[in-house]
């Protein structure tokens, strides 16, 4: 099994901690005068998203996590699994609901997502930063109300609910920032 010495620690490195895949977020080397050197790291557990601090004695080794980010096209959901495909190889991967997590509400067939594989199994799914989705349900638009900046909830084709300006109509396509979950603009055909 591959491993990393603390000397190789840098942010972004994927390591196994208590058998869970984690990514190093921050790494600080500390060494008092003539004493023991340490690496103080902040790591994010890639399964749970939890961020914890760890300290290692310099020179200690940590097992590497076989974690890889790959761009894949979202194909469909069979109710239990979400199916993705690597465009170049047609290789398919099925992600469960835990791996898909919050990304579920933004998944639209054909869109390209970043899928994180651990030991070749999907660990997490990142939707595109911006998605274009159709409004399937919202209150009727109010003309001439653009200046007041009022908002109303709108349900999208993927099931997500976002707040949109009052003038936006049911059936329209809108652009949404998936990182904030906020409406960006209407999409003109």
């Amino acid at each position: 099994m591959a491993s990393y010495s603390t000397n190789e620690f840098r942010s972004g490195l994927k390591i196994l901690i208590d058998k869970d895949p984690c990514v190093i977020v921050e790494n600080e080397f500390v060494k008092p005068g003539k004493g023991q050197a340490f690496s103080r790291v902040r790591i994010r557990n890639l399964k749970t998203g939890r961020v914890v601090d760890k300290t290692f004695k310099s020179g200690d080794s940590v097992e590497a996590a076989d974690v890889m980010d790959t761009d894949m096209q979202y194909l469909y959901s069979d109710g239990e699994f979400y199916h993705f495909m690597v465009p170049d190889t047609y290789e398919q991967h099925a992600a469960d609901a835990v791996a898909v997590g919050e990304a579920r509400q933004w998944l639209k067939e054909q869109d390209t997502c970043q899928v994180t594989l651990w030991n070749n199994t999907p660990l997490s799914v990142n939707p595109p930063n911006f998605v274009e989705l159709k409004i399937v349900e919202t209150d009727p638009g109010v003309r001439g109300d653009t200046a007041q900046g009022g908002v109303k909830p709108a349900k999208l084709e993927t099931g997500a609910v976002v707040r949109v300006p009052l003038f936006v109509e049911e059936g329209e396509m809108i652009r949404v920032d998936t990182r904030s979950g906020e409406y960006v603009s209407r999409v003109k055909d």
Binding site: N7, E28, F29, V30, K31, P32, G33, K34, G35, Q36, A37, F38, R40, V52, D53, K54, T55, F56, K57, S58, G59, D60
Partner: protein, 324 residues
Amino acid sequence: MKSPSDDWRPSAGPDVLALRAKLLGRLRGWFADHGVMEVETPALSAAAVTDPHIHSLETCLDRRPMYLQTSPEFFMKRLLAAGSGDIYQVCRVFRDGEQGRRHNPEFTMVEWYRRDLDAHRMMDEVESLLAVLGAGQRQPRPAERITYRDLCMEFAGIDPFVDSTAAIVARLDEAAVAVPDGLSADRDALLDLLLATVVEPAMPAEIPVFVFDFPASQAALARIRDGDPPVAERFELFLGGMELANGFHELRDVAEQAGRFERDLQRRRDAGLKLPPVDHRFLAALDAGLPECAGVALGFDRLVMWLAGCDHIADVLSFDAGRA
């Protein structure tokens, strides 16, 4: 972080490089005024440091293993034993695996030795040098002196000689510092972690702090003074919570020194570390007689960091290890 295409450029700005040059000039002038002679000693040695916490870089000379110096200490003491008188050196030293905000694998050390001075008079001397180097740049306030024990009590509420390892672990927990597996019984390592994570950040920004009378287990090459508990006549200078210098009232007893080398090697063996060749020429020099003296090593780059107000050692190096 600059883009990869930019990495031919120096990591320090032109102002800082000019400051380095000015300080080196002043430093040499100060030593000349004080009758301390500049020397140069080999960077490559057939022997290496035994300290388990310091890792030498190894290279080859005619297929013979040679080591890049981690400090010029052994060679300088050989000069002293041969009657050089007071000496100083400004040189590059190399330490494997030390890289971070305050560490670069090679850095500049200013090391000097004064005969007939003890640790406290050497601290006076370091303080007056600091004042000279800081003039017109960033003048440190008058220095304070505190024992290692009082430092740990004042800044961490831990008595390093009396409190249990469990109490130190609890104090680290309280400060949200994760303790590495297998460290909970290693007293010195726990104290090191406490110093680096709890004590250093709490130290004053503008006041130089000399810490003295270290635990005998952390004596390195300092003499140990009998007492209850016995303490090492070693001091460290901190400025802005950063260790700048380390000094010793130098150990002259060859048998004691040989014993410490042996204990270092045993600890290295236990930890599965490399066993470097012990410096027998240095031991022979001690046997011939090292004059009564004190010595100090000052990290020049860190001093420049403080004087220039830089947070990262790369900001004061012409090219840091990432661009070397």
